[in-house]
């Protein structure tokens, strides 16, 4: 698409943003892949519409404030990237644009407060745990809360385990085939520390030595997705230092974190750390991607026939292009039937802090997603991202069929340990 973006005005990312606009031919093939367009049916809430609006802002023809509601409503699921025949690198436009616009857009104070709260708690395990404890106390009052707070509270899990993290080094079982570092991030450590533990066990079982760097922290994904570039870089810088170079891969088991770390190069574009960031980004792999590439020991079959519906996490499927790897891994488990839901490529509505900021759209997507999943009559739902797990679990509960939701590595881990998958009582 023709544009008049003054590229140089936007620094190192100007060229990349303009490149994405140029590649777009406005054909509209992305509309069907866009969750917000599917829900709202409005052009400005479609990828094509948003690209057009961002172009208009960057050209100086539209106020950032005008475009903000629509760009904000983008889940960043990258479903459009998978659907796009023209190869538009939507992320290379959206992420820097959000950072550029965030300084220019005046948001009402409740929005700012909510975002500030999210940013100040989610990436910090201790604060998050305290907040969740508080939220559980208010849960009985949920029906009387404003929509967004209600949405927040509805996502709070029933049980909270003590935040744990795996040991700093875990030796490979048998001959060492590889050495990796694992990101244990923030939210997942509080909500589901058992996923990290499963990841480490499954890796070790397959001859991988695992290090869990002590100094690491939140990957910055949540801040990155809402355009808080400064905050995201502050968090990411810590990881640039924390992760060693002498590993074969940096493993993430949360799709959102993996996709953010793979974007570190873009995040530090034009900054002194760019080269270092690029190197780290190049080593990042999702745990399923890594295990599939390595080749795994076939686990013993499950004790009972089980039907799992696999739900693609957008940040795995669309942002990282990882589709086959988790399916192949699950396919290696005997007695496990893996089925595909309708609208598999559509976001569940979690998308980082999205479900907190846009509860209506997020809830509609969550309901739709769960309908598709339950139509397959599954024993368990399997996915590769903690955010999706929280959202899907909440909507399964609301639908009255709280089928267990597991991470891909948890399925492998249970299979290796000769245990069955949890089932709905």
């Amino acid at each position: 698409m023709l544009h008049e973006i003054p590229v140089d005005r936007y620094g190192a990312v100007g060229r990349r943003m303009a490149g994405a606009v140029e590649a777009c031919v406005h054909c509209g093939f992305c509309l069907a892949a866009c969750p917000t367009y599917r829900v709202l049916g409005e052009e400005m809430d479609s990828p094509r519409g948003r690209i057009f609006l961002m172009k208009e802002v960057l050209e100086g023809h539209l106020q950032p404030q005008e475009a903000a509601p629509f760009v904000d409503r983008c889940l960043g699921c990258f479903g459009c990237v998978t659907a796009c025949p023209s190869g538009v690198a939507y992320g290379e436009l959206l992420t820097p644009y959000r950072e550029y616009a965030s300084a220019k857009v005046r948001r009402p104070w409740p929005d700012r407060l909510l975002r500030w709260l999210a940013m100040e708690t989610l990436p910090h395990p201790a604060r998050l745990r305290a907040a969740l404890g508080l939220a559980r106390l208010v849960r009985p009052a949920a029906p009387y809360l404003p929509a967004r707070l209600r949405a927040m509270v509805s996502l709070v899990p029933d049980r909270l385990s003590r935040p744990r993290r795996p040991a700093s080094t875990v030796a490979a079982a048998g001959a060492r085939r590889a050495r990796v570092a694992v990101l244990v991030g923030c939210v997942q450590r509080v909500l589901h520390p058992e996923i990290h533990e499963a990841t480490v066990r499954v890796l070790a079982r397959n001859g991988v030595e695992v290090v869990v760097p002590d100094q690491q922290g939140c990957c910055g994904a949540l801040a990155l997705h809402v355009g808080e570039g400064v905050r995201a870089r502050r968090l990411a810088r810590r990881n640039l230092l924390a992760f060693p170079e002498d590993v074969d891969a940096v493993i993430t088991d949360a799709a959102g974190c993996g996709s953010a770390m793979k974007e570190y190069g873009l995040l530090f574009s034009g900054q002194p750390e760019e080269e270092q960031a690029r190197k780290l980004a190049a080593r990042v792999q999702d745990v399923s991607e890594f295990l599939n590439g390595l080749g795994i020991e076939t686990p013993p079959p499950l004790p009972a026939p089980t039907r799992a519906v696999y739900q693609d996490a957008c940040h795995l499927l669309h942002a990282q292009g990882v589709r086959d790897a988790p399916r192949r891994l699950l396919g290696a488990v005997g007695n496990l039937e893996v089925v595909e839901p309708a609208e598999a490529e559509l976001c569940c509505g979690s998308a980082g802090t999205y479900s907190l900021e846009h509860p209506d759209v997020a809830a509609e997507l969550g309901r739709r997603k769960v309908r598709g999943l339950l139509d397959t009559d599954p024993d368990v739902v399997v996915t590769g991202n903690v955010g999706c797990m929280v959202q899907i679990r909440a909507h399964l509960r609301a639908a009255g069929r709280p089928v267990p939701v597991l991470h891909t590595v948890q399925v492998l881990d249970l299979a290796y340990r000769g245990q069955g998958l949890p089932r709905l009582a």
Binding site: L2, A32, E42
Partner: protein
């Protein structure tokens, strides 16, 4: 009527949330898939019921406000370009399949239903909706009806027009009419045939009754690679002459193969100057017998590599590459113009050679990807709008290609419609009395010319010049 009064009037018909008036909202509706044209409407309304559409049209008629009906905005001829002094009626929320009757093989749908969703709904019954424009995952039935959309599989079973049985329409002056029926046959003049392809100039389809067809038992999809585009063109003539009646016969040239391969990794033969895709469909024993003959014909036509789709997934990949080819060309060039000319099938070779010559003369690359079996060419003229004069040169080249099609006895559009883009060329294809009858028909439906104003009919040169300045 000034903008404020228009908005005031619309507020009597719609809640605030379904009238779009903010600059960002309107900007998003400025273009369809032809971005060379842009126009910002006064407002966009989002009706949710047919009654709202009718009320809107009546209101527009009463106040002389032009309206443009819009589906997914995938028109390649600027068919859903807004009118600056008018409103856009976005029909995306009228997207219900009202009735699916597998035994009678019909689907009754609202205009905002997406083409592919009809086939998805019919699939459990072994049926599908045959017309398959490349944009079928997004384009709407309302748009397909307005522009008589085609697709890769028109050769055997025709275009949209051959698959619409009945219509309920609100004419531009607000009268609601129904015509056609649920039978494949009718009596009296073919009014459905007239309405389909009328480019939104008569009014808005509110309800469309579609014919569904049983899914073929078997497909055989053959890919053949050629060293030259002419050789592939000649192969088409040989396939057609052999007496085979394939479901689809498509050609892609080197540029479009390169682009499509980058987009979907369809596994097209590398280094081919042209690729021929022929798909047979029908009963298993018949298709198997036809395949033997097809392979013989294709091999004898000078293909240096012939490949058969291994399975359904492979077939889908082949088609995904073909159907994404237009957009994929966006990878090769910042801008392009898509043309849609038709030539007699025996003139394909001549037309391609002439386009090649024109491309060299204008110094602009032209990618070719087209429905060869129908003689329906889609030259994509690559240009860079930032280079002064390039767009104008590209438009001139496009004009020459259209005139070439007319000269060879063909048409300026096979399936994209005239829209904004080709309206000046309609007068080169039809005489003044031909056009006058069409204008009379249009005025009979729309005396104020408020429905999709500015499309299809040539604008007098003086007005055109004034609009450009």
């Amino acid at each position: 009527m000034d903008r404020a009064r228009v908005l005031q009037g619309l507020r009597t018909l719609y809640p605030e949330s379904r009238i779009l008036t903010r600059p960002a909202e309107l900007a998003a509706y400025e273009s369809d898939a032809l971005t060379a044209f842009r126009a910002r409407p006064l407002a966009v309304v989002l009706p949710e019921t047919r009654e709202e559409v009718v009320a809107t049209v009546r209101w527009c008629h009463r106040h002389g406000i032009p309206f443009v009906a819009r589906g997914s905005g995938t028109s390649l001829s600027g068919g859903s370009l807004p009118v600056p002094e008018g409103i856009v009626i976005a029909l995306n929320r009228l997207n219900r399949i009202l009735r699916l009757d597998p035994e009678e093989r019909i689907a009754v749908v609202e205009p905002g239903v997406v083409n592919l969703d009809v086939s998805r709904a019919a699939a459990p019954f072994g049926l599908y909706y045959a017309p398959d424009p490349s944009s079928q995952p997004v384009c709407t039935i309302g748009g397909n009806v307005a522009f008589n959309s085609g697709g890769a599989h028109c050769l055997k079973y025709g275009m949209t027009s051959n698959h619409v049985l009945a219509l309920e329409v609100v004419l531009a002056d607000g009268e609601v009419v129904r015509f056609g029926g649920e039978s494949l046959e009718g009596v009296g003049p073919d009014l459905v045939g007239l309405f389909v392809g009328s480019e939104g100039l008569f009014g808005i389809a509110l309800e469309v009754t579609l014919r569904l067809v049983p899914k073929p038992e078997a497909y055989r999809t053959v890919l053949a690679a050629y060293r030259s585009l002419e050789a592939a063109g000649d192969a088409v003539a040989q396939v057609v002459a052999s007496g085979l009646l394939p479901g689809a016969v498509e050609i892609m040239d080197r540029l479009s193969i390169e682009a499509a391969e980058a987009a979907v990794h369809a596994g097209y033969p590398e280094d081919a100057a042209a690729l021929l895709i022929v798909e047979l469909e029908g009963e298993e024993p018949e298709v198997e017998a036809e395949l033997a003959e097809l392979l013989e014909v294709v091999r004898a036509s000078g293909a240096y590599e012939v490949r058969l789709a291994r399975d359904e997934a492979d077939r889908q990949r082949i088609w995904k590459g073909r159907k994404g080819a237009f957009s994929a060309v966006g990878r090769l060039s910042p801008d392009y113009l898509v043309q849609d000319g038709v030539v007699p099938r025996t003139q394909l070779g001549t037309a391609l050679a002439e386009i090649e010559r024109l491309s060299r003369r204008y110094g602009l690359r032209v990618a070719n990807v087209f429905h060869a079996g129908d003689g329906n060419l889609h030259p994509l003229i690559l240009y860079d709008g930032r280079q002064p004069g390039q767009l104008q040169r590209a438009e001139e080249l496009a004009g020459e290609i259209l005139r070439l099609c007319i000269r060879l006895g063909g048409s300026i559009t096979g399936e994209h419609g005239v829209g904004m883009e080709k309206r000046q060329y309609l007068a080169e294809m039809f005489s003044e009395p031909d056009l006058e009858v069409m204008r009379r028909l249009r005025r009979a439906m729309d005396p104020g010319e408020i429905a999709n104003r500015g499309k299809m009919f040539p604008v007098p040169q003086k007005l055109e010049a004034a609009a450009a300045s």
